[in-house]
């Protein structure tokens, strides 16, 4: 599950994420971070689901962090896509590949939203929302 964590001025200095990782033992992966002394935004991937996920999200909320779920990674315009493959080998996490019939397949769970495919696409069919 991919979520956006918004830290306010009052909690930005606390090691909240590290504490939650230690407490739950779930290795939360930081995909993107923008933090300064005033506020912070993290996009993280939490490898959990169901009750465990809810527990982790609640720990963040209790610590004063705002949680936004379902962060969309990429938007592919399938009408524009020519299935050339230019985005496939540059992808560092193998989130893009060909299907049997040589159409493009996007595996969202693997995507870390690095954006390298956006630049690699020759027909501008890939966007980051």
């Amino acid at each position: 599950m991919r979520v956006k964590l918004i830290y306010s001025h009052s909690v930005v200095e606390k090691p909240i994420l590290a504490s939650i990782v230690l407490k739950t033992g779930i290795p939360i992966n930081i995909l993107e971070a923008r933090i300064n002394a005033q506020k912070g935004e993290l996009i993280v991937s939490i490898p959990a689901s169901g009750e465990k996920l809810e527990e982790i999200l609640n720990l963040f909320r209790e610590a004063g962090v705002k949680v936004q779920e379902f962060i969309e990674t990429l938007r592919i315009d399938w009408e524009k896509c020519i299935a050339c493959g230019a985005c496939i080998s540059p992808c560092p996490t193998r989130a893009l590949r060909f299907r049997e019939d040589w159409t493009l397949e996007f595996i969202e769970e693997k995507c870390v939203a690095c954006g390298i495919c956006v630049a690699a696409c020759p027909v501008k069919a890939i966007n980051m929302p």
Partner: protein, 509 residues
């Protein structure tokens, strides 16, 4: 006569069968399967025509346009379509729009290829032109909207399309490269390749027995013709190319798409399908060639040299490239195509359908394509500036255990900003700049080796100034030590040297 030369069927016989509706037509993929299951002899006997296809970026493409005369008329001397410059060294209202001509307002994001796609899609395009005015053509400016229907002619004429095959690309350098071969990750991070391999038209008849001047083809979704060998045609090395033409008004956006390669430029994806009449066993054999029998080199784009001099990393088949990974040394490196195999396949299917429906007939070439020859590189006459011509040879260096304050006063005394650090053998060990020293003094550091940058960007004496200036800009630095092959420092080149000693491409007196 050699058995392979014996004619199985003539093109006239094939056209008779197409007319009667009983020609046997297979796509190249189907031909491969039939040859595998029933043997080549049977396949050659049964199959009249094999259809090929490719859909890839082909920069040497463009369209001749005739706009028609306005009233009062204009002799257009400069002209733009959607702000993309159109070549106007032709008659008053004729122009040529090249696929890689880039928009003067949108740059890399929009170019000639996109205008061609917009025209073929029936979209309105802004036509703007200027002139100096003549007695017969008094108008000096025009701005209007046009669609493809307003044009008298829109003829796609592509000087180089349909490469027989194309060398694959990788990158040994330590940074991401954005090239016409797409995004190449550092340290051999990926491999990109182009061409449809076993579906590629010229791969299906590499001896050019059936493909030649005058061959009727599928071009951009319409009917087109081969009008000669393409520029840089290189049959000697198996890299043949084609010059093609066709009526843009018949074509479709599905097989003609504007594209842009990040930080490289704009281009056009062109769809081409060529029918291969199975006239003898040799053609049957090549029409059934598979990806694992078609080889190209993987070249290193991390070395900024002439394309044919780029180091070859590995020779590899299209089958291996298309598998998604190529093994180099002990690493599996991800590989992916830049041209669409899916649409190449669709083009071969479309051409097959046309022939089966009896709407597309085969042609016998009126001249064969050249079977020998290769392109020459461009010789640069006159001497060009090298690093050695403008670098400073009186280079001041320091030792790793030198005292920072002493070194700082030396820099001030000599008025320099870059100080290469060399070891006991005189080999480059690091570099410090005046900025590094200022910070080190503020932080109370003592020895140079505590603060020097150890991974030094360098240049060789015989390198071109342009290459080294680009290297400095990419690393955001203002000077490089010049070293010999043994890594001894023999000089230093700074952006100051470049700006002071080069004026308008020549050395200052």
């Amino acid at each position: 006569m050699h058995e392979k030369d014996e004619e199985i069927r003539s093109i006239d016989e094939i056209n008779e069968k197409i007319k009667r509706g009983d020609a046997v037509v297979l796509t190249a993929e189907e031909m491969i399967k039939l040859a595998e299951s029933s043997g080549l002899e049977v396949a050659a006997k049964e199959v009249d025509v094999v259809t090929s296809g490719t859909f890839g970026a082909m920069c040497s493409s463009g369209v001749f346009l005739n706009f028609g005369h306005s009233d009062p008329p204009i002799k257009m001397t400069r002209c733009w379509l959607n702000d993309v410059p159109v070549y106007k060294g032709l008659a008053a209202v004729d122009g040529y729009l090249g696929a890689s001509s880039m928009s003067e307002t949108k740059g890399f994001d929009y170019g000639g290829g996109h205008v061609i796609e917009d025209l073929v899609s029936g979209r309105e395009v802004v036509l703007r032109a200027e002139s100096y005015g003549t007695d017969c053509y008094p108008r000096r400016h025009i701005e209007t909207m046009i669609t493809i229907d307003d044009l008298n002619q829109a003829v796609l004429v592509n000087p180089r399309n349909c490469y027989q095959k194309y060398d694959a690309a990788t990158n040994s350098s330590d940074r991401v490269l954005y090239t016409y071969m797409g995004t190449l990750l550092p340290n051999y991070g990926n491999i990109t390749f182009s061409g449809a391999g076993q579906l590629n038209p010229l791969c299906k008849d590499p001896n050019y027995e059936t493909i030649g001047f005058g061959t009727r083809i599928l071009l951009g979704g319409g009917v087109g013709y081969i009008i000669g060998e393409g520029t840089q045609h290189n049959p000697t090395s198996g890299f043949g190319t084609l010059m093609v033409k066709g009526d843009l008004k018949q074509m479709s956006r599905r097989y003609l798409r504007g594209a842009s390669f990040h930080r490289y430029g704009t281009t056009l994806y062109v769809g081409i399908g060529i029918p291969i009449p199975i006239i003898n066993m040799r053609v049957a054999r090549t029409a059934a060639l598979k990806d694992d029998e078609i080889y190209v080199d993987i070249r290193d784009y991390g070395v900024a040299v002439r394309p044919d001099l780029r180091p070859v990393v590995k020779r590899v088949s299209y089958a291996e490239l298309r598998s998604g990974k190529v093994t180099i040394g002990d690493r599996d490196i991800p590989s992916s195509s830049l041209s669409s195999y899916k649409i190449a396949r669709e083009i071969a299917e479309t051409l097959k359908k046309w022939i089966l429906e009896g709407t597309f007939f085969l042609t016998k070439p009126i001249e064969p394509l050249p079977k020998h020859g290769k392109p020459k590189p461009l010789k640069v006459k006159g001497r060009e500036l090298k690093v050695g011509d403008i670098m400073s040879r009186n280079v001041i260096t320091a030792k790793p255990n030198d005292d920072i304050k002493e070194v700082a006063s030396k820099l001030v005394e000599k008025g320099i900003d870059h100080l290469p650090v060399v070891n006991e053998e005189g080999k480059l060990a690091g570099i410090v700049t005046s900025w590094d020293l200022a910070r080190a003094i503020a932080q109370d550091k003592r020895r140079l080796e505590e603060i020097m940058t150890r991974k030094v960007i360098t240049a060789f004496e015989n390198e071109s100034i342009d290459v080294v200036v680009r290297r400095m800009a990419q690393h955001n630095i203002s000077g490089v030590p010049v070293v010999d092959r043994m890594n001894h420092v023999i000089g230093i080149l700074t952006t100051d040297d470049v700006s002071r000693k080069i004026i308008g491409g020549r050395t200052a007196q």
